[in-house]
Symmetry: C2
Subunit: 261 residues, 2 copies
Amino acid sequence: MTVYAGQGDAHRSLALLWGAPAETRTGRSGPKPGLSVDAIVSAGIAAADAEGMAALSMRAVGERLGRTAMALYTYVPGKAELLDLMHDRALAELPAGPPPTGDWREAVTAWAGDLYDCYLRHPWVLQVSQARPVLGPAELAAMESLLRALRPAGLPPRTLRGAVAALWQFVRGLAAATADARAAAAATGVADEDWWIERSTQLAVLAPDFAERFPLLTALQSTAGGPPEESHREAFHSGLTVLLDGIASSGPPADATAVAG
Amino acid sequence: MTVYAGQGDAHRSLALLWGAPAETRTGRSGPKPGLSVDAIVSAGIAAADAEGMAALSMRAVGERLGRTAMALYTYVPGKAELLDLMHDRALAELPAGPPPTGDWREAVTAWAGDLYDCYLRHPWVLQVSQARPVLGPAELAAMESLLRALRPAGLPPRTLRGAVAALWQFVRGLAAATADARAAAAATGVADEDWWIERSTQLAVLAPDFAERFPLLTALQSTAGGPPEESHREAFHSGLTVLLDGIASSGPPADATAVAG
DNA sequence: GAGCGATACTTTACGCCATAAGGAGATGTC
DNA sequence: GACATCTCCTTATGGCGTAAAGTATCGCTC
């Protein structure tokens, strides 16, 4: 669901993301707050992790805190902003910085693996409207991490921007594919492999000319072995290798870093 | 919206996608169908193009056809399946095959550009739960096209799978970023540039230590010129170059194709 | 310490949504 | 003409996000 939040109150959203500093006015009257933005975000993440994005409602989050749905509106402008906060908080689980090894390939690989794992721990993040320019601190920190890892590669700014986009989107996309395969397996109660086989059987009936219409796809598919989960992991590594090779060939004179390392 | 369709009746969905062949039983009684799956899918696409994914309801689609929402359920099992059909129909706009030039880089670039443009023509496609293994004919045809374009690169199967995933996800991700930037600009009525400036100003207030916390990001940002739309196009090209370079370096002995071409 | 305004939270209500259930009318076969 | 079948409708159910308004609680001012 979507989670295609309206642009709504962008200012308020940003302020919440970056933790509005002097929110504590002097002279507050009224009952003390029983909740907090943090607690609400945590409850939202717990709910999304446990029940999935489709089941995430303001009522559900409120119930986890022993409140009604409307109580949340004291702390958060609306569901869209709550999702923004949840998104950034999930990304905040990423390690702060890459290990200071000299090998940028290793550093980038570690970064990609961390992001991939984080997405799979919180698959609902992938359903929050992608690439909405929310600019939360954790998201920016993750990007800074990637830039730090890539620095030794010595890319010019243009290429660097492209490489960052390609890396991020690749990880995100592969995590989404993995997560969806898992969800399908869990929802149908069918094991990954069997589900795939069933699908293929149906396809063979519906499109008997499949092999002729899609010869290359058929050929490629026949070379795949093992369950989808493993196949995704393999695609992750080989795709990442392609990306790293591309980055290496766009770097400085080709052997400067290799020799230096 | 999500479009995180339940796995629901996968069989029925697949049958619709591949155009169940002998649907016309002999001896049909009852009134003649006033609608068709095709017409409903077209209306759905028109609605999504015009009003956006958030406004896409069964009611809205029905209204475009002069019917109620419930009338659609005679033709389509539910909203999720309709979205699957819309998704595949949108991808069917892609050209059938790459031009038969010998230059695979050119062919892949053309393929990527076509997909990028298609996504931007139908931004809602990017909000349909990504990578759901729907396996519609148009989606598979697009993949076959990419494989055809990549063939001269002579990649081994493992690498090929990774490269395909990386390319597809990269294009999808960048299209999503571009589409979201456009949506933000349209929704706020603010021009791209101004919106970005405003955002930066807010950030500077909320996080005065921005430059210290994110030095590399700050440095990279300062090298960017021009409006976001152009910046995205630039990222598209430089990212694609990185990917193509990576593919080239994973291919056969490195100069076989270059010399041959 | 009385009063008052601000605050947290609730109840209620509105207008959406997808879709289950059942009925009305049209159309074909027998 | 009878009947089965099919399209399409109306109605109803149970959800959703959230606007509006009410209630209880707290802290400040006088």
